[in-house]
Structures are given as C-alpha cells and as structure tokens.
C-alpha cells in the first residue's frame, strides 16, 4: 500500500468513527415519546416518507425544480458509486476492465451535475445568500471525488491524486454539512413518524 492509500484509509477511519458517534447519539436519544399517539400504525407512513413523499409527483420542491432534482439524483448516485469504487480500490489494484469506461462516463456526467449545482449556488442570489463556505467546499470536494474516481478508472496514473482527494473528502465529511448523509435518514424517519401518527401520511384516497 502506498502512503496516499494509507492517508485515505486513515481519513475513512476518522469519518466512520465520527459518523458512528453521531449515529450512536441518535440511537441513544431515540424516538420521541408521544402520549397523543392515536394508535395507528406508523410503519406505512415512515415507508411513504422514504418513497412516495420524495417522488417528483408529490414533492413540490422536486416537480417545480425538475432539472435541479434530476441533477441532484445523479450527483448522489455518482457519490454512492464512487464510494463503492473507493472501497474496491483501497484493497485491490485500480480497475481497468471493460466496465471502467462506461462507469467513468457516468461519473463524469454526475460530476458535471455537481458542477451545475455549484454554478446555480453561485449565480442565484437567494442561494448565494443562504450558503456558507461549507456549502461550496462540500460540493467541490464531492464533485472532485467523482471526477477523480472517473479519471482513475481510465488513467491509473491518476491514482495518487484520486486517493488524496478522497482523503480530504473523508476528513471533511463528518465535520461539515456532508454529515446530512447520516441525518437525512433520521429526518425522513421523524417526518414519517410525525405525519403517520397524525394520519396525514400515507395519503388516503378521497
């Protein structure tokens, strides 16, 4: 293993430990006790919170902003794919098989989506005023991670750059807003629980 792979491993370990601390805190604090629970099953509402409620058919923030929504979905898919590839790369040689080109093309596309979201954040005043340096930094790191992954698949010599970018990303991941990757699931759970207990979700046919 080269030094840059060790660096990535250390950052990944740091990221996992801090994320686990966040996770344990969430589990320790647990779900709200609701004395007003009317006795309905909340399971379907929580399931709906993760599925139907997020679809562009139901979610206004999605259907009013379809290009951003689509770019966001691709960007997130690119992130997940890049993480899987990183896990493989850490413990085996860089993949250069027949799949590497289509995967690289997809990651270039998802990285471009990341750039488009970044550009939108820069040029739209409402978003610019809402943003912190963390918002830009996080976007840039994830976009670079995807592009570096793509590059490493078609150009193994880019490996050191790829691992260094990955290392920086995972050091920042649990510190900045990227930790929403963990809290997102808790937020959707809580929202499903809230609307489920009150009988709002899942929507009933009229």
């Amino acid at each position: 293993m080269a030094w840059y792979q060790y660096l990535t491993l250390i950052s990944l370990l740091f990221c996992c430990i801090v994320c686990l601390m966040h996770l344990f805190r969430l589990i320790r604090l647990g779900s709200p006790v609701d004395y007003a629970t009317p006795g309905v099953k909340t399971g379907p509402a929580i399931a709906y919170s993760f599925t139907g409620a997020m679809s562009p058919v139901k979610k206004e923030s999605a259907y009013l902003h379809l290009p951003t929504y689509t770019a966001g979905i691709l960007f997130h898919l690119g992130s997940f794919l890049s993480m899987i590839i990183l896990a493989v790369h850490l413990f085996s040689p860089i993949i250069t098989g027949f799949l590497s080109w289509p995967v690289a093309v997809f990651l270039f596309a998802s990285g471009t989506c990341g750039i488009s979201i970044l550009v939108k954040r820069i040029i739209k005043s409402s978003l610019r005023n809402l943003s912190s340096p963390d918002d830009y930094l996080s976007n840039i790191l994830v976009t670079l991670f995807q592009l570096a992954t793509a590059l490493s698949l078609i150009l193994p010599a880019a490996g050191p750059v790829y691992f260094v970018v990955s290392a920086i990303l995972f050091f920042w991941f649990p510190v900045g807003k990227l930790r929403h990757a963990l809290y997102f699931f808790a937020a959707r759970y809580h929202l499903g629980l809230f609307y489920g207990r009150r009988g709002v979700w899942p929507p009933k046919p009229r």
């Binding site: 779900s31 709200p32 006790v33 409620a53 009013l64 929504y69 409402s126 807003k177 937020a187």
Partner: protein, 431 residues
C-alpha cells in the same frame, strides 16, 4: 454593548441541552441549503424576500446550535456559518420566526431532506420565549388567557348573557323550549369548547352547533369556567404556559365528568390540545377527544342528522386550516360533510394537505405589528379563492374565518365566509 446578558442567553441556549429525544438534533444537522423550499412558503412567494425562505429561518436556529454544540462551529465558525446568540441574531429571529412564519408546515412536507421546519421554528420561538422576547401583542393574548381563562378576557357574565341570547334565538327558531344551551351540567356525554371569537364576534356559530347537537339528540354541555379551545402559548413557544392553559380543559373534563371533549372549529386549538397537550402533561387522554368536524361527520355517518343540499345553491369552496389538515390529519371529513350539504362544491388549487395557509396562523392575527405583512401574503389565498368562482368560503377554523374576512375586505372578493357548523346548520333537516 448588547442587551443580551449571559444569563439571558443561557436561558435561550437551554433548548439545546438535555434533549429528550433525537428529533431536534436531527433537524439541526440536516439542512443542505438547497433552497428548494422557497416556493413552498407564502411569505417568500408573496414578497420575494430571500430572508423569508424557510431554509433561512431554519438556519437561524441551526447556526446557533452549530456555534455552541459542534466542533466546526467552535473552531471555524465562519466556514460553517455558525452564529453567536447576540442582539442582532435574536432580533432577526424575532422578525423571521414570529413575524414571517405562520407555522403552517407546508415547507415540511416538501423539504427535499424532510426537515420538520415547523418544529425548528417552534424551537426558535421557545428560545426567544425563554429570553423574554415574545412580541408584546402575542404575549398579551397569552396573558389574557392565563389571567381570565379566555384569550379575549370575556367576563363570565357577558359570556352567559351571550349564550342566553343565543338560546332564546334557538328556542324561537326551533319552536321548542327544550332547545337549550346547557351550561356547567355534569355527567353529560359531551363537553363542547369554543373559540372566544365566537361569543365575542360570531355568536351565531355557537347557535349553529347547538342546533346540530339538538338535531342529533346529543347530551352535551358548555362550561362557563373553561371553554377556550385556543392556546396561544403554543405559538409563543412557552411550553410552561401552554401546559397551564391545556391543563384547565383536562381539569374541566374531570370536574364535569363528561365522556368526550369536542373541540370547536379552531385549527391551532385542536392541534395544541389534541396533539400537544398530552405531551405537555405527560399523560394519555383518559377521555375521548374529537374535533367538531369529525363529530359532525360521525353524526352524518350514523344517520343522526340529515342535510338538504338543495338549500345551498351557491358555489362553495373550502379553505384547509393548516393545523387541522396538514398538521392534524383531518382532511376528508369536512369534504364528506360539504358534499352532503351543498349542491356545488369546488376545491381550491392546491387543496387538502397542500393548500396554502390563509396567512393568519402562527399567532399572526394576534401580532398587530406584522399586520401589513400578513395582509400582503394573503394575496395568495385571495387569488386561490377568486379562481374557484365560489360565493361561499367554508373553513373549519375561526382564526381562518377572521383572516379570510379581512382578505375578503382588502382584496374585494365579495364572498361569504362560514364555518362547517354554520353551513351544516343552514342545510339541516330538523326532526
């Protein structure tokens, strides 16, 4: 030199300490500042003011949390936009969390992450309340309820006089001396509550509900000691005061030994009592609690009352009170009722749990300092109503009735505004 001393600041920051569950830290760590919530908010839609985007309001509270409770916020606050709780921050919080949010919750359901934005706003209001920064007008409404037992400080004699007057009207209309409005009678099946706006400004809505109870042959009573369904401390964020107000209805149920509490048509009152009061008081209801909308729908399903839709020929539309519908799950009952009591019912667009707030929620009607803003944002509701072509707007919430009445005047809509009980009473076939 700021006016916020450390002891005051610490009272505000206490909301982040000793968390009872994971709900708050989840919301405070989740926002990605995508800004896609902007168009869900009537304040942003009506004013175009970027400060009013829901994510900005969430970030006000979250940025304080980050400053005092995260490593990044303590070490490099500028990078993660972590803010000190100082005079500027607190002033901005008052303006945006009290003055630019009706806590309608429309942003919650459409947030790309799923943040319960309404809950974060309420937490921010609790911070401000802890620091003694509730707008004076809103606090005076809460104080009125705490001191007099109802938020309009209606003296008991005046209240009884109004009810006796309505009773006489009812007896005359129904030509039955048994058509009474029972007061403080123990052992009845139902204790009915009121929004103090009813005895003060809209006594006919009390008569309407009394007529429905009469037609259904209900065993019911009103209390002259505690009838106020509202709880403005739910909006001010003072949980202790909210608990005191809620507890009075619990006590009155116990004193009168009634089996069911029927909540008057009041969105926030219903939400505060039905969904929050058990948590304020840490106990489950020992009695049945239902909104009057559900109660009337039950009468219809049981065949206890019958309606004649041919009496109401005008086009009728329905406004969905946020706290009853989106935050309370009462979505279909009012539609079930309306389809049986009017000939021509049309929905607003959007409707149901996606409907827009009237602009009067969140305590806005009590906070006169934000009147101009409140009327401006109501332009969205005015457009919705106008597009339906309706001549009657029905809404099961007296707070919404007030706001829509002002919208009606300001935007010259020329519509009638009624509660569910009022329109049902109009269509009621008497036994």
């Amino acid at each position: 030199m700021g006016t916020l001393t450390d002891p005051i600041k610490n009272k505000g920051l206490a909301v982040f300490e000793d968390l009872p569950d994971s709900r708050l830290i989840t919301q405070l760590n989740s926002c990605v500042h995508c800004g896609l919530c902007a168009e869900t908010c009537i304040y942003y839609l009506a004013t175009g003011d970027e400060r009013m985007i829901p994510a900005r309001k969430v970030d006000l509270v979250a940025s304080i949390y980050r400053r005092y409770h995260t490593v990044a916020g303590k070490l490099f606050p500028a990078i993660v936009k972590a803010r000190d709780l100082d005079d500027d921050t607190a002033g901005e919080m008052v303006d945006l969390l009290y003055g630019a949010c009706t806590m309608c919750g429309r942003c919650n359901a459409h947030c790309s992450i799923g943040i319960d934005i309404g809950f974060v706003i309420r937490t921010g209001r609790t911070m401000l309340s802890n620091m003694g920064m509730v707008p004076a007008t809103l606090q005076s409404t809460v104080d009125a309820a705490l001191v007099s037992g109802n938020n309009m400080s209606i003296p008991k004699e005046e209240f009884i006089d109004t009810l006796k007057w309505m009773e006489e009207e009812l007896v005359d209309e129904l030509n039955d001396p048994q058509a009474v409005i029972p007061l403080d009678q123990p052992g009845k099946r139902v204790l009915y509550t009121l929004n103090p706006r009813e005895p003060k400004f809209f006594p006919l809505s009390i008569a309407a509900m009394a007529k429905i109870f009469y037609a259904a042959g209900e065993s019911w009573t009103l209390s002259t000691r505690m009838y106020d369904v509202t709880n403005y401390a739910y909006f001010s964020g003072n949980i202790n005061e909210a608990s005191v107000i809620a507890n009075r209805l619990w006590d009155e149920m116990s004193a009168l030994k009634t089996q069911a509490l029927v909540l008057a048509e009041c969105g926030h009152g219903s939400a505060a009592f039905r969904w929050e009061s058990p948590n304020y008081l840490h106990q489950k209801f020992p009695f049945e609690v239902m909104t009057s909308v559900e109660w009337i729908a039950r009468y219809l399903r049981q065949g206890k009352i019958k309606l004649d839709p041919s009496r109401i020929k005008e086009t009728v539309t329905l406004h969905d009170p946020c706290n009853l519908v989106r935050n309370g799950g009462i979505i279909h009952e009012q539609r079930y009722i309306l389809r049986q009591c009017v000939e021509n019912f049309v929905e607003m667009n959007p409707c149901g749990s996606d409907n827009y707030c009237c602009g009067g929620g969140g305590g806005q009607l009590a906070m006169s300092e934000y009147n101009e803003r409140r009327i401006k944002i109501a332009g969205i509701k005015a457009d919705q109503i106008r597009k339906t072509g309706a001549k009657i707007v029905v809404t099961p919430c007296h707070n919404c009735v007030d706001q829509i009445s002002q919208i009606n005047f300001h935007y010259k809509l020329n519509v009638q505004i009624k509660t569910i009980a009022e329109i049902v009473a109009d269509a009621l076939i008497l036994p």
